[in-house]
Subunit: 488 residues, 2 copies
């Protein structure tokens, strides 16, 4: 089974598709650009959701639900928003089907045409700010710290499972504040939560920074981003948090009276991460044998495999181990299937990325031990039954750390600082990864570099100090280095 | 604040709308028939989801995600399904907007017309069974026990928040089995889970039964239902579980080879509950002061209110109580707002249905006690600080039980058995509720009764023994009594 996966070195893109398909993460659907998220893929997303939701709630956010449909006219109320967002989308024009008088199928009933077309939400700023107008009168109504977990649709021409699909799942937070400062602090808080989630749970190192004007969210004053690096040297934008200023409040006329009865427009942020994170997770850790999952997000953390097949004695020991591990909050499965050989099972669990495999044979039991195999390094070791729960618990932590450290070493090794455009192009082509270079701050230069190299400015990193230099492309003055990369 | 709610006795329908609006459960949206679910309403739904999801997973089900869109042609593949379902729905015909050359808004780009229209899912049997064809070859691939938590759209002409909306949230389970017996057992298992959830968590008594052919799900062989009774004497269908036979497997050509290599069509079930349950919850327990929530589903179970306002001494005691209650898994909030009077807060928490309110004043502290008020009976009592955690924990259980018993007494009191059609109509008009009567089993009679009285057959109850009698309408022979009611 594992041997059917294309090697990364041969064709990285095909390798990714093979993992998605063969590990059972997602499948194509009958609808162009839309995927079916299969149980394993969805269970990973559920674990991501649970953790993020917890982090949002711990910082005072609540969930709500706004309509799937947006009246067409809403999209053009915020000028930049419509330019950036509203063009490629699913348009609802009718609300009824009827039997085809000339056949046995159904046709659209022409008499059911809508007065105003509805758009399936590509993002919900417009409908939410239209609603907030009714909810906000006074500073006492602020802040509103609302999030929703929903599906959105953007009609994409080229799609890839998880990374870019016409329909995807995400959370979108939309907050309203009484001051610019508060809205900016909220934007930064979420940026920090996203980075912490990516690093501590996904074991995916990220660089925090802000987007250039050209790469900014349509309608935002500032877009904060976390950028990760995949194993093929391409960057992945993994989560964005936008300071929206008063743009949407002005577009939808949302005002509040402050404690001096002065009336002002409300300040806003919005932020989101999506099922794209599942794609990032796959690309960060997986190998030629299949999926590799960080323990904190793995639906099954430990699988116990009887060797060569289940018998009452082995199953009793397995069940004892499971009980002990479950008591520590570890997610364990015992494979009781009698029809498949251990070798087949080992390959299957490697493919599915289960972090720890425990093999139990009769000879092991004589020695009061089992064999433990870790997915990340593929090491195997005999482990005594006594204290196995503590051993496994610690090992899960070690695997989590090792995955992060490995990914971070790769990422750090793939940040190349260059001083001229020849080196820029060489580094990009030969090594890939992030290219750090001075940039003159103009969109013109940014677009020319993109045209010539396909690299975009991923972010202006937060932790990059100001420094005087010359733009790598135009040689104009620059006061900060930025990070370029080809990106998903 | 509470006084703004219309009394149930004056106008039940307006009372319901007032609760939804003023307790902050939901709001109308700019899109016809679609609601905004506000944070309190959504938190109730989240608690429902969490419990149901747990019950599904404990019985071997997993979650997945299938596309929002369904190709139009899929809907006509199962003949009865298209008749019952596919007519009033949102139809996507285009995938792009463009700037209006004659104005400053956007218009639909005529060149983006889809080859085949897409329908926003009203339910997902068709797209899922089209996918299952690729997933199922052998009996080894069965059963598939898959659920999804999603939004669906049915273009409704008359809508009411939660009870009937164009877009709503639900879970839909779609299972595939190797035998008729297994699929029937699955249908019954879910029926049982729904009933248990309704009674044990929502404190909403339900009658389990099967639907008549006329009321059956479009495409089902048998529909199992749980039916609840609202305080105005109207019934609410609260959850349905469908045995689909081989209908969808045949429509989408899904076959498997059994362990003798015989090829057969797959057997199926589907089942769902929706945000309609939130409407049922409101209508079952709430009163003229506002929402009443069963403790197991209440987002906040206990609120602590300092009297007349917070001071360090009171807050310290409040914080100690909160800590003890939280340790027991109880959801507690301390109201630290200094700007509002206790009377205002009391009314607000009554309106929002918080099951237990703890008032703490300085005089209470002298006596080492607090005042506890329960939302369901409105009783108040002084309670000693010592052992207060155990007291509150037990009281939450008592409130849960009391709500169920009260609702059950009302329901049982509103099942009227009649032997002739005059009594039928009298009971329906004067008392409302369920009318139990013999029925001849014909759709013709069922529809005539509906036409004359607006009552439908809610179900043929599981626990109703066969008995010989004469149909209440036609006087034809009948072998079982069924339950009629006007319904939401």
């Amino acid at each position: 089974m594992a041997k059917e996966i294309t090697k990364r070195s041969e064709n990285y893109s095909q390798w990714y598709n093979d993992i998605v398909k063969k590990a059972g993460l997602a499948d194509n659907s009958a609808v162009r650009g839309c995927m079916v998220i299969k149980p394993l893929g969805y269970a990973i997303w559920e674990n991501m959701q649970a953790q993020l939701d917890k982090m949002f709630k711990e910082t005072g956010h609540v969930n709500a639900y706004f309509p799937l449909f947006i009246p067409k006219s809403f999209l053009s109320k915020e000028a930049k928003h419509v330019e950036g967002f509203a063009k490629e989308c699913a348009v609802i024009t009718h609300h009824r089907l009827m039997n085809d008088p000339n056949g046995d199928g159904v046709i659209v009933d022409p008499s059911s045409k809508l007065e105003e077309e509805l758009i399936v939400r590509p993002t919900s700023e417009t409908i939410i700010w239209n609603t907030y107008r009714d909810w906000i009168q006074s500073y006492r109504d602020l802040p509103l710290l609302i999030n929703q977990w929903v599906n959105v649709v953007r009609w994409e021409m080229r799609t890839r499972p998880f990374l870019r699909t016409t329909e995807f799942l995400w959370q979108e937070g939309h907050t309203a504040h009484a001051s610019k400062k508060e809205a900016e602090e909220e934007t930064a808080l979420i940026h920090e939560i996203y980075a912490r989630f990516a690093e501590d749970y996904m074991a995916m190192p990220v660089i925090k920074g802000v987007k250039t004007e050209n790469e900014r969210f349509a309608g935002a004053v500032e877009t904060y981003t976390i950028e990760a690096l995949m194993q093929d040297g391409k960057a992945l934008q993994a989560g964005t948090s936008h300071f929206l200023g008063q743009n949407f409040a002005k577009a939808f006329d949302v005002k509040f009276s402050d404690n001096n009865n002065k009336v002002e427009h409300v300040w806003a942020s919005s932020w989101g991460v999506s099922t794209r994170l599942v794609g990032g997770l796959i690309m960060t850790h997986s190998d030629d044998e299949g999926l590799v999952l960080p323990p904190k997000l793995a639906p099954t953390q430990v699988v116990i495999v009887p060797i060569p097949k289940p018998n009452p004695e082995i199953l009793e020991v397995a069940s004892n181990i499971k009980q002990k591990l479950t008591a520590l909050g570890i997610r364990v499965k015992i494979d009781e299937d009698e029809t498949k050989r251990p070798g087949f099972k080992f390959a299957q669990y490697e493919l599915e990325g289960v972090p720890i495999r425990i093999g139990i044979g009769m000879r092991d039991l004589v020695n009061n031990q089992v064999e433990i195999a870790r997915r990340d390094t593929k090491e195997k070791m005999p482990v005594l039954l006594e204290g196995i729960d503590q051993y496994v618990d610690k090992l899960l932590g070690d695997i989590q750390t090792n995955l992060f450290e490995t990914a971070k070493a790769y990422r750090d090794d793939h940040i190349t600082e260059v001083k001229n455009f020849t080196d820029f192009k060489d580094a990009l082509e030969e090594k890939g990864g992030f290219i750090k270079a001075h940039w003159d701050g103009s969109t013109e230069t940014e677009l020319k570099i993109k045209e010539e190299t396909k690299a975009t400015i991923r972010c202006i990193p937060n932790d990059e100090a100001e420094s005087s230099g010359k733009c790598v492309y135009s040689s104009n003055d620059s006061n900060k280095k930025v990070l370029f990369a080809k990106a998903y």
